[in-house]
């Protein structure tokens, strides 16, 4: 199996979907000739032409609105938001239109649209190029929210997103675009939406994470296993909405202890929902307070490098939290 980076896997998924189904098209800022700011769509313009790889104006509202209209008309749009930080102008289109279309039209219209957006910090991007925005959208029924952490899943999940009849927000951990590598099967395969990945087997505590944090959680788990003999059961959530309760609870029933890691700021973050599921449906298996590790509640990811380091959860902080919880 060829090894490739996260971003190469994403590009391969889009390439194969474009080739597979003529209804698939891509639109977004600089996605055409320039191949996207992160080169996610590099080469696709040359291969599929300007009618299927469409550079958009610098207006996120219209990117998503065009996607909704095209989807209702029977196409399968992949809209790229250059940075998740810029998705907010499109918030009304996503929440009020895309998410509610099927419900509002009594099942007459659906929106099979995929919105890709790089998210997350740790890349020196400062206030406007580092945010985690998933919690805004996981609150909205009618949407699906996906965050891959491995190249294998990135390709398989993106294909599932493109083929899904609902609007899917597909957030990509940009820090891992080129730093995360892994084996990716050649050719067509999908990874189902709504199923978490059992990233590591362990019996001492459960760790729930997604995106870059899932990657770090596995690193930290290997470290505490090596140094302290603590065995963590790591669950890579990979689809945040709908949430895979079954996998989440199965792990918790085994360990009785839960650490939830996300790089968004802590309060009201996505991990709060996992904590609520565990305490509500796993209470009789609980052996320790449920712990969350997130970023501090400050307005933005700092641009200053030392402050950014202090802000971001990392393998060291995760390992410390794992040790504390194991000892409880």
């Amino acid at each position: 199996m060829p090894e490739m980076t996260l971003i190469d896997a994403l590009r391969e998924a889009m390439d194969e979907e474009l080739a597979r189904d003529p209804r698939v098209f891509i639109t977004g800022e600089d996605v055409g000739k320039r191949g996207g700011v992160f080169r996610a769509t590099m080469g696709l313009y040359e291969k599929y032409g300007e009618k299927r790889i469409i550079d958009s104006p610098l207006a996120e509202l219209s990117i998503v609105a065009i996607g909704i209209g095209a989807a209702c008309a029977g196409l399968l749009p992949i809209c790229e938001i250059q940075f998740a930080d810029f998705i907010h102008p499109a918030f009304n289109q996503i929440v009020n239109e895309a998410a509610k279309m099927y419900y509002r039209s009594g099942g007459t219209w659906n929106v099979p649209m995929t919105i890709r957006a790089p998210y997350g910090g740790g890349i020196g991007g400062g206030l406007y190029h580092s945010q985690s925005v998933e919690a805004f959208f996981t609150h909205v029924p009618g949407l699906k929210v996906v965050i891959p952490s491995t190249p294998h899943d990135a390709k398989g999940l993106l294909k599932s997103a493109v083929r899904d009849p609902n609007p899917v927000l597909f957030f990509e951990p940009k820090k891992g675009y080129r730093s995360i590598k892994g084996e990716v099967p050649a050719g067509d395969y999908t990874v189902p939406l709504g199923k978490a990945r059992h990233a590591r087997e362990g019996s001492d505590l459960s760790v729930y994470a997604y995106g870059m944090m899932a990657h770090y959680a596995v690193q930290a788990a290997e470290q505490v296993a090596r140094e302290d003999g603590i065995q963590c059961d790591v669950i890579d959530l990979r689809t945040l909405l709908p949430v895979d309760k079954e996998s989440i609870l199965a792990s918790f029933k085994k360990t009785g202890k839960a650490l939830i890691v996300y790089e968004d700021n802590l309060t009201m973050g996505y991990g709060a929902e996992i904590a609520a599921i565990l305490s509500g449906e796993g209470f009789e298996y609980m052996d320790a307070p449920i712990r969350r590790l997130g970023a501090p509640d400050v307005p933005a990811v700092p641009f200053s490098h030392p402050l950014q380091e202090a802000f971001m959860p990392n393998p060291h902080k995760i390992a410390t939290a794992m040790r504390d919880l194991a000892a409880y």
Partner: protein, 444 residues
Amino acid sequence: MPTNVIMPQLGESVVEGTLSRWLKQVGERVEEFEPIAEVTTDKVDTEIPAPASGVVLAIHVAEGETVERGTLLAVIGQPNEQVATAPSAPPAQAHAANGQSVVVAATPPQAAAQRYSPVVARMAAEHNLDLARIHGTGLGGRVTKKDVEAYLAAQTSPPAAPLAPWEQPGGGDLFKPTDEIYAAANAKPVAAAPQPSAVPRPAAPQSLPPSTAPDGTLVPHSAIRRSIAKHMVESKLHTAPHVTTVFEVDMARTMAHWKANEAPFAAQGVRLTLTAYFVAAVVRAAQAQPTLNSRWTDDGLLIPPSVNVGMAVALQDGLIVPVIKNAQDLNLVGLARQVTDLATRARAKQLKPDDLQGGTITLTNHGVSGSLFATPIINQPQSAIVGVGAVTKRPVVITDADGNDMLAIRPMLYATLTFDHRVADGALGDAFMRVFKDTLENWS
């Protein structure tokens, strides 16, 4: 950092203990949780585990000394480590003037107010565990799920338990006719009277070698013997007017159930004995007649909400009565587990003081030594004690459904209820025993 070894709280109501023996001396290496000293309280000997690994740097309490809980007993640290002369002690109390023991008014150990996580509470309920017995390895001595799992794993493969003490011939005074005991007790002072001062009282209640006295060999009383003597005299002669009623029980059904279930219980790691059935029958009777599951006070009869059954266990040097708490909540499996656990630990002298407290009624199975019936003495401040004799095959007259009498060989038992006549009259005692008898005769 040196670690202090503190006299623990050994039970809810036990505030002091005697340091009977140091198992480690100054300079010796000790591992965490390794016993460092033996401590004796009223009735129980226990060991104090080392709170840390290291070397014993200092010992502050001499063997034989009785100290309060929270007293600094010793200090553990690294070799050559300096011992603070007054570790965390208020300055005024730092040194006893003559360099004797240093007493620190320490706070009680933090495990005192133990809380359990939902999973631990659930597992304890499912397996009928007393969590206080499980050693916690979590934060601040917390009992974790893994601790419970480890405890259960250890329980499922118990060593082949030898016969419990009360299933063996007992030697305690409880089993002898009371006249014999008190004849002897009354005779002694008379014999000793001529030269009372000639015999020095033994200073320590610990076992000392016998010594010769003018009128024979004087065997010093052990602490437990003294305690029993005091309680027996107090109960029978100064407190409760005893009265005894005797019932005959056909044990055929109970024996059949026992034979049929011994092996299945053993497969679950539970040793089933007849005692468990007797405890169950006592509970049933006590629930039907709560007046006898009570305590006489001057203000009124105190009837507790639960049935805590004390079971007399004969030891080599006396008799001890560990208590099955909340026995009304336990089924036969739970009772059998408790019976075996308490007996095993009684024999090993590993009962905790709390194991001996809170009894509301007592069962004594004197039948194991062949006795048919006996009139035991009430364990104060309770109101009643049930005695069960040996199960023996006897010819009895039984009547069939058509009213035909015939002779049959049945396993029969004499059971007695000795109760405090202040609390109840004969009819109530008999009502209690009818439930006891019915429970065993109709066991299914």
